[in-house]
């Protein structure tokens, strides 16, 4: 288990470090003059303001000096100020972060429950029309664009039926965005569960369980499901990362007050300090939570806990 954890921890550290480099030097890669592009949309920016921003971003120095300037500021908790409004970036993002986390984790729970149920029944009813219907619905789930699904749900359940608010905060407003975000991943988890369950159903210990005369529910839940869920649970970290990514689009549709809406606006306005802050916070959060989920998984799986390396 130690070697597994060490390796995971090493990758996490490496990722965060690479992110700081990529983010610090992001403005260098912009074709043209980044300062002019940044201020193109804010009329009346003075020459002094532009020069101040250039110095602030370290664009007047060489690459190495720029990186250490940026890193030094980061370590002091200074993520810079936005071009428009001149607000400090970090508090702006941190204020939105909980909303995004809330959305992504709710969607992950919905996707896992729906996906596992779906995949389990598809495997259990192998070769029947039930499996066909369920598997066809997963292909649909993967094919439908989340942004379109969101708009349709909003139109039907928000406008026509009026069951859920069209925008806002709180758990009532969370339902439609979370379902939209969960749909694709429910389909993916469903397919994963099905193939894993199909393998489990053919195992020796399943025949033993049946022949012992255990009740059907015990065999299916205690023996089959527990074994079949291993690959699903081990993919939780990856699934969470995808939820965070998908949240960006879903937040935009539902005017959800999260990090994603902020990021899309920042990219459209080419507000580089804000974009830099977003990328950094986003990847640190994704890396930390994926790491946490992997550690929990490793602690639960005896094969990893007792010294094996996956």
């Amino acid at each position: 288990m130690q070697s597994f954890l060490l390796r995971r921890f090493g990758v996490a550290l490496l990722t965060v470090w690479v992110t700081t480099i990529a983010v610090a030097l992001l403005t260098r890669l912009v074709p043209g003059d980044p300062i002019e592009i940044m201020f193109a949309q804010s009329a009346g920016a003075t020459r002094e303001q532009m020069l101040a921003m250039q110095a602030r971003l370290g664009l007047d120095r060489n690459v190495v000096a720029q990186y250490f300037l940026y890193l030094g500021n980061l370590l002091q908790g200074d993520f810079g100020r936005t071009i428009q409004g001149g607000q400090p970036v970090l508090p702006l993002i941190m204020q939105r972060l909980p909303n995004t986390l809330w959305l992504a984790s709710t969607a992950l729970v919905i996707a896992s429950i729906a996906g596992v149920t779906l995949g389990f029944f598809a495997a259990y009813k192998k070769g029947t029309w039930v499996e066909h219907v369920l598997m066809t619905s997963t292909v649909m789930g993967i094919s439908i664009p989340p942004f379109w699904l969101g708009l349709i749900l909003l139109m039907v359940f928000g406008m026509q039926l009026g069951w859920f608010p069209v925008a806002g905060a709180g758990w009532h407003a969370l339902v439609l965005p979370a379902v939209t975000l969960a749909a694709t991943n429910a389909a993916i988890i469903g397919r994963l569960t099905r193939s894993s369950m199909l393998e489990v159903f053919e195992q020796e210990f399943m025949r033993t369980a049946w022949s012992k005369g255990l009740p059907k529910t015990t065999v299916l839940s205690r023996h089959a499901l527990r074994a079949g869920l291993v690959p699903v649970v081990s993919a939780m970290g990856v699934q969470f990362a995808y939820m965070m990514g998908g949240a960006i689009v879903v937040e935009y549709i539902f005017s959800w007050n999260g990090m994603g809406t902020l990021a899309v606006d920042a990219i459209l306005r080419r507000d580089y300090p804000l974009i830099q802050g977003f990328i950094l916070v986003f990847s640190v959060v994704v890396v930390c939570i994926s790491l946490l989920l992997d550690v929990i998984y490793a602690a639960l799986d005896p094969r990893i806990r007792q010294g094996g390396d996956s």
Binding site: T15, P31, L151, M155, E202, I267, F282, S290
Partner: protein, 293 residues
């Protein structure tokens, strides 16, 4: 991300891949449907000037915000543009974006993955660490960062989606080459004095090509979803483009007054993506008996 992973190198050569596709279309109704959807989109893309009744960007060819009616079967938008024409022309941009993005991902992914697996040593180690890092970034963040650097436009969104897909195809190629590299026929090639370049070009690449084509077909659907998503956010195709994601973004403002504007572009994306998924997955299942127990 591809949602239909391969378990091994597909048992097929480039020559038999074509035949397998035909057999799959003939045997499985879902694959047939997939091929039909792709053909329809291709026909729309290729013959758009002849099929579309109006200029897709011309204003006031019909009434403003009209519901579907004879003559304007999908309705008209806020500028009186014909939605049928816009959807038909949009097929061109949407398919092109998908193909181009996958070509970028596949081209770079193939090169990196193949070199890492074939050469081994520190190159392989470096490649694996890079993959670890890139996978924890998630594709959407990579794509967003690329658009942030390059600026919003359809071609930049295509490049961004292409770059974001490189790790997926890199890892795919890497694992495929790893399996092939240790097979006896490669060893006998080497024993007969074949050089690295010959082994890679004449033996390794042809043998992993069918697998990559199948994965790439499914990958087109992911690329189309990602690129139209960027356009929907305003980070890809810009008005007056008839790229489907951009059309959908414009329709969002007429959400309650003209819901048909939302219906058709979304449906178009769904059907094309479904087509690539059904065709790719059907062929994969046929060539990959391991998954089909």
């Amino acid at each position: 991300m591809t949602h239909f992973p391969l378990t091994s190198t597909l048992k097929s050569s480039p020559g038999t891949l074509g035949r397998s596709v035909l057999v799959a279309i003939y045997r499985k109704p879902t694959v047939f449907l997939g091929a039909l959807l792709i053909l329809a989109a291709l026909a729309a893309a290729l013959f758009a000037p002849y099929l579309a009744p109006y200029d897709p960007e011309a204003f006031a060819v019909g009434p403003v915000l009209s519901a579907p009616q004879p003559g304007y079967w999908f309705g008209t938008d806020e500028f009186g543009r014909d939605m049928v024409s816009r959807i038909i022309w949009g097929a061109r941009e949407t398919l092109l974006v998908g193909l181009l993005a996958v070509s970028i991902s596949l081209g770079f992914g193939l090169t990196f993955g193949l070199l890492a697996a074939y050469l081994g040593g520190w190159i392989e180690k470096l490649f694996m660490r890079m993959l670890d890092v890139l996978f924890s970034f998630t594709e959407i963040l990579i794509a967003l960062a690329c658009v942030a650097i390059l600026g919003p436009s359809l071609i930049n969104a295509t490049i961004a989606v292409g770059i974001a897909g490189i790790p997926v195809y890199g890892r795919m190629t890497y694992s495929l080459v790893l399996v092939e590299r240790n097979k006896p026929y490669i060893e006998s090639c080497r024993a007969m004095g074949a050089g690295h370049v010959r082994i890679i070009l004449r033996h390794l690449i042809p043998n992993i090509t069918p697998s990559l084509i199948v994965v790439g077909t499914i990958g087109i659907s992911t690329a189309i979803l990602a690129a139209s998503g960027l356009s929907f956010l305003g980070l890809g195709a810009q008005p007056p483009s008839s790229e489907w994601g951009a059309v959908l973004a414009g329709a969002r403002d007429y959400f309650s007054t003209a819901p048909w504007l939302l219906l058709f572009p979304g449906l178009a994306i769904t059907l094309v993506v479904l087509g690539f998924n059904l065709l790719g997955d059907g062929v994969r299942q046929m060539l990959d008996p391991k998954q089909n127990k």
